[in-house]
């Protein structure tokens, strides 16, 4: 091994420090990666339209709140059409409600006001209420949870 004689000697302690440190780092990455991935919640399963009830349950001129995959949704039925809006305020996500007296949708938390077609009229909300797609299948109302 005469050709290796001029190589630099690594002290035993330094070598062990690097070996122990490297093993600890490798273990931390191997254990940490699945943990970090575990912390990210999976996307919600159902993407399809959800049945919210028979159309007769939503009389013309009524505004009702129903649940679609645990999320509150406003069903607004006028003489011409049925529309669905997420009942979640675009400001800080409180649940909004229709006020029959004032004919508008109101957020009780910070005073946001929306029109009956979801437009933000007053208060802090920066955007209209999110509108959800509605389909009617043999007299049954279906709402898509996403847009």
């Amino acid at each position: 091994m005469s050709d290796n004689d001029d190589r630099k000697e690594v002290p035993r302690r330094d070598f062990l420090n690097v070996a122990i440190g490297g093993s600890a780092a490798a273990l931390a990455v191997a254990g940490g990666y699945p943990v970090v991935r575990y912390l990210e919640p999976p996307p919600s399963q159902s993407k399809g339209a959800v049945r919210v009830g028979e159309l007769d349950k939503f009389p013309v001129g009524s505004v009702r709140t129903v649940l679609v995959n645990e999320r509150p949704v406003l069903i607004v039925r006028s003489a011409q059409e049925v529309r669905a809006f997420s009942a979640v305020c675009s400001h800080l996500q409180c649940v909004v409600a229709y006020s029959p007296e004032r004919k508008q949708i109101e957020c009780p938390c910070h005073g946001g006001v929306y029109s009956i077609d979801g437009r933000n009229l007053a208060g802090p909300p920066p955007r209209p209420l999110e509108e959800l797609a509605v389909t009617i299948d043999e007299g049954v109302l279906l709402v898509s949870p996403t847009g």
Partner: protein, 339 residues
Amino acid sequence: MSVPRWLADRIGWTGVEASLTGRVVSRHGFVFYLGGITLFLLLVQVASGILLTLYYQPDAALAHASVERIVGEVSYGDLVHGVHVWAADLFVASLLLHLFTVVVRGSFRSPQELSWVSGIFLLVLGIVQAFTGAVLPWSERAYTQARIGSEFARFVPFIGGWLHRFMRGGEDVTANTLAHAFGFHVAVLPAAATMVVAAHLFLLTRRPPRKAETLSGPTIPLYPDFFVRLSIAMTGVTVVVLSLAIFVERPIGPPADPRLPSLGALPPWYFLPVHTIVRAAPKELLGFDGPSFLVGAASVIGVVMLALPFIDRRGSRLTAWLAWVALLALIFLSIRAIT
């Protein structure tokens, strides 16, 4: 063999003893009293919290009824629940007062930077602990708080999107959000707080003992004089907590129903200034939307707080003066929220 002698052979008890008896504290050391009272209230929270977990059910369908059962049916359940809820409020209050006195007296200055930094982490842990605890009854009010509180996470710079989904356990506030709040309240945060409290106390014993002549005003020995006074203060706090728990009811409120409009109810008292600002803030500030600006500003204040002993190395008058201004501003904003 005497007990101290026996311990001396095993854990070096004489060193522990010397580190206690050799010290003096300022007789008017509110920092120490408030620190001790905060620690005492933390222990009350641990004890009453463990008792509550024996009957509490962390399931969105069962949680509210289980809390009602604790208060209504379990023997002394109303007392345990009342102590936990009231001591939580007093804990946050004494944490904030402790912080305030430390800033005003300049107690963060060298060589106590690490005590300060660990204290700021404890403040954050304490407030998150109070907040996650308020979610657990899964009442209408708890549900609203969970919605608003987690929504703020979205506006945290860089990690907001991830944090928002993580806090909710998904896109929206659901049964998963309650499970997350429970896991954090009873496992993650207490474990973290135990370690940081241990560091906070360890740092107290490691710093060089202060000589009487370096302290302004009259001094008393840390042991036994200060400990006796602190015990009297703890007895007083116990009387206050028990009286509040027995005589002032903290109603749980109706169970959460996502179909109902959110309660316009106010947040916990320590978030009242935030409530006033959120209600009054314009939609856009300096090109950012309102909540982004507020969370960004809060992040900057947080970083400055953390770095305070490195920015103001001597504990200047200006810092003390700013603390008073901040206190008065927060009181003013809180009063605005309830009037």
